[in-house]
Amino acid sequence: MSEVDMAVIKPEMMKSYIWLQTADGSIQQVEQEVAMFCPMICHEVIQKGMGSSKNYAISLPQRVNPAMLSLILDYCRFHQVPGRSNKERKSFDEKFIRMDTKRLCELTSAADSLQLKPLVDLTSRALARIIEGKSPEEIREIFHLPDDLTEEEKLEPLKNTTDDPRIRLLNRLYAKKRKELKERQKLKNIEVEEERVDDRSVDDLLSFINGDNGDSKGIKNSKSKKKNRRRKDQQKNTSANEAIKNHNKEPNGLNQVCHSAEVGQKVRAGVGATSNLHDVEDDIFDNKNELDDGDIDDEIDPALKEKIDREVEDFARRLNSDWPERMQEILSFGHERKPVHFSLNGNGSLRRYANSEQR
């Protein structure tokens, strides 16, 4: 209202106004009875005597921007009138609430900071109605929530009540590796199916069998502490079995046996490598108390990350390369059995574990 208008109005019609300032600096005046409907403003006026003039405008909390303030004032303007029936109020509320989700959330926040409980209840109810009955994906979509839980965490929620960031980190790693390995396995299966003809010489095969006798023992599926690991391993084994079954269709009996052994061997080697990986992780889990806390906050230790990435690349390469190459590798792999290097601040126990893998 301009000064001129105010001068024309009769004194009886003069309402008192309260001056409010939002976080962005803009100041506006609002009818007293409307503004006083908000407990926070009421408190400021009564207890601190603020709001009577432009210089002493009440600074509103940061969560109240001008758009939200205008909405809240609309709400107050309607509800502060005493004569309205419950039906009228309800129908106003229903219409008032119709807005997009983003504004609804902002409005809830703003109303909460002004301690306007009826409006907070109204908006909470509206938000609850939005969430109710929807699938997690839909809810994430509506509220722009990041999908940052691992598959494992989703399947068995709230297993770790300690909320240790290192456990979360490991879970994330674990899940990533699992996904990658699954993909590798899929590719491998496709390739394995295509391979029907084997043109290796018998000599090669025999030397292979002889040379690798000792190896099949070392590569066991180590007892997994976590159930899902076993689940994963079973998955691997079934796909290995499928591969073996495919090869069993070969007419040549000797070749068959060799192939099965070989495929089983290779897959088990692969599995062994990954169980290595996960047993090591497990060890890290066990020895977490010995780890230097400063090293791991929410970023993966770069050295560890490198090692893991290299290991995965290795494995992927092995899976994707051709048979002869693979054979060569397996031969060399079987003889040498290099220990998996994981240097985590020279944690002796890890190294020990890796070495024991050799036999």
Partner: protein, 421 residues
């Protein structure tokens, strides 16, 4: 990966708002928010109100599966929960007597439970374990279909404000001592009890709701009572007991409730009040009584009519009156003493505030008509008088209307609505 521009809208709201939202969701939806994102993993776990009802049951044809599913869900939810639980409600027909419930109650008793609602299915009634009596902070207790047996050392719930026992097997002494042992009790509801004789001593009681076969009720110390609703069923031995009784039930029941604002009576309530010798003038005035609803009043029983009159003539601020008649075949079929209305009926009482009167199930018996006449003549502020005849009366309706037309009305703006069905 998420678009950097679309910021999370909701996860950073204050926990009180998140709780406010999650509390309004069915419990399964609330728990499922734990897989939305890492921030949401534990937001549900600190909810202080857990309500398990039919919505969280996954239906299937296999009854055992439904039961097991529900038990597992509740157990796991409680196990994963963090912090105090103030309200726990279990309303389901799928569970009856189940050992898991004992364990849940034990868990709750260690977690500052304040409001407990247990409504279980028909079948074997659940026997409330002793750990319930250790819930010191209990403010509300609702039990449906349970066996309630307090240990002898139990003194009462010192914080209890609301008690609702519906179809609960409990000894009368236990109920009386429970009520007396809860000094803060404001709301009491007892339903479906058999032949209960009860004396209620509850100095803070405001709301009373009774339904069942009550042999005797005495409101000995309930000075703050504001509203009551009583439905009394009659059995043969209760009727016998009434015949032999000489104490004035009206005084015993309504003698100590000066703050009463609403009174609702069902079934045999008026009859109950009519039992006993009339002790003359009522010692108190119901200055706050605004709404009276009495159902199944038999206008063929003088004593019941006297009860109604006594009540309304001592309520100067009565605004609303609703009476439903009953064709009570038990009443004596004497010639109605219509002289009463001329001679004995208090003539100088005016219902200055009475605005709305509803007479339902009217059979048109003489006393009913006289009563209506009495009201019309003494209610200067009356706005509406609505009369609905009883469905069984078809022939007498015309006579009723003819009589109604004749009645003098103290209020010029009174409308008489004759409601045909």
């Amino acid at each position: 990966m998420d678009d950097v521009m679309s910021r999370d809208l909701i996860s950073d709201l204050p926990q009180s708002i998140i709780e406010s939202i999650l509390t309004r969701l069915p419990i399964r939806d609330a728990v499922r928010t734990s897989i939305l994102s890492s921030k949401w993993r534990y937001k549900w776990a600190t909810l202080t109100q857990l309500v398990f009802d039919e919505k969280c049951v996954i239906l299937s044809n296999d009854r055992c599966k439904v039961e097991d599913g529900l038990v597992n869900f509740i157990t796991r939810t409680l196990f994963l929960h963090q912090g105090p639980i103030h309200k726990f409600q279990l309303t389901t027909t799928h569970l009856q007597c189940c050992p898991d419930i004992d364990q849940w109650l034990l868990f709750l008793s260690r977690n500052d439970i304040k409001e407990l609602v247990l409504e279980l299915g028909e079948g074997e009634w659940f026997r409330v374990p002793s750990c319930l009596f250790n819930c010191k902070k209990l403010t509300r207790l609702d039990l449906f279909r349970c066996e309630f047996d307090p240990p002898p050392t139990f003194k009462g719930f010192l914080c209890l404000k609301s008690l609702n026992l519906h179809q609960v097997l409990v000894s009368p002494e236990a109920i009386e001592s429970l009520i007396s042992g809860c000094p803060l009790l404001e709301s009491l509801a007892l339903s479906y009890f058999d032949s209960l004789a009860l004396t209620i001593r509850a100095p803070n009681l405001k709301f009373l709701c009774l339904e069942g076969e009550f042999k005797d009720i005495c409101l000995e110390n309930t000075p703050l009572l504001v509203a009551m609703s009583v439905a009394m069923y009659m059995t043969d031995d209760i009727a016998e007991h009434f015949e032999q009784s000489s104490t004035c039930n009206f005084n015993r029941f309504l003698g100590g409730v000066p703050r009463l604002e609403r009174l609702i009576g069902h079934i045999y309530f008026t009859k109950f009040l009519s039992i006993g010798d009339d002790l003359g003038r009522l010692p108190i005035t119901y200055a706050h009584l605004k709404v009276v609803e009495l159902n199944q009043v038999s206008f063929e029983d003088m004593k019941e009519i006297l009860v109604v009159l006594r009540l309304i003539t001592n309520s100067p601020n009565l605004r609303e009156l609703q009476i439903s008649g009953s064709s009570n075949t038990l009443a004596a079929i004497d010639a109605p003493d219509l002289d009463f209305w001329e001679d004995e009926c208090p003539s100088n009482c005016t219902f200055k505030q009475l605005r709305v009167v509803r007479m339902t199930d009217m059979s048109g018996v003489p006393h009913e008509m006289e009563f209506i006449k009495f009201l019309l003549a003494n209610s200067p502020a009356l706005e509406t008088m609505s009369i609905s005849p009883c469905v069984y009366v078809m022939d007498g309706r015309l006579n009723m209307l003819i009589e109604l037309l004749r009645f003098r009305r103290a209020s010029a703006q009174a409308e008489i609505l004759f409601i045909q069905d």
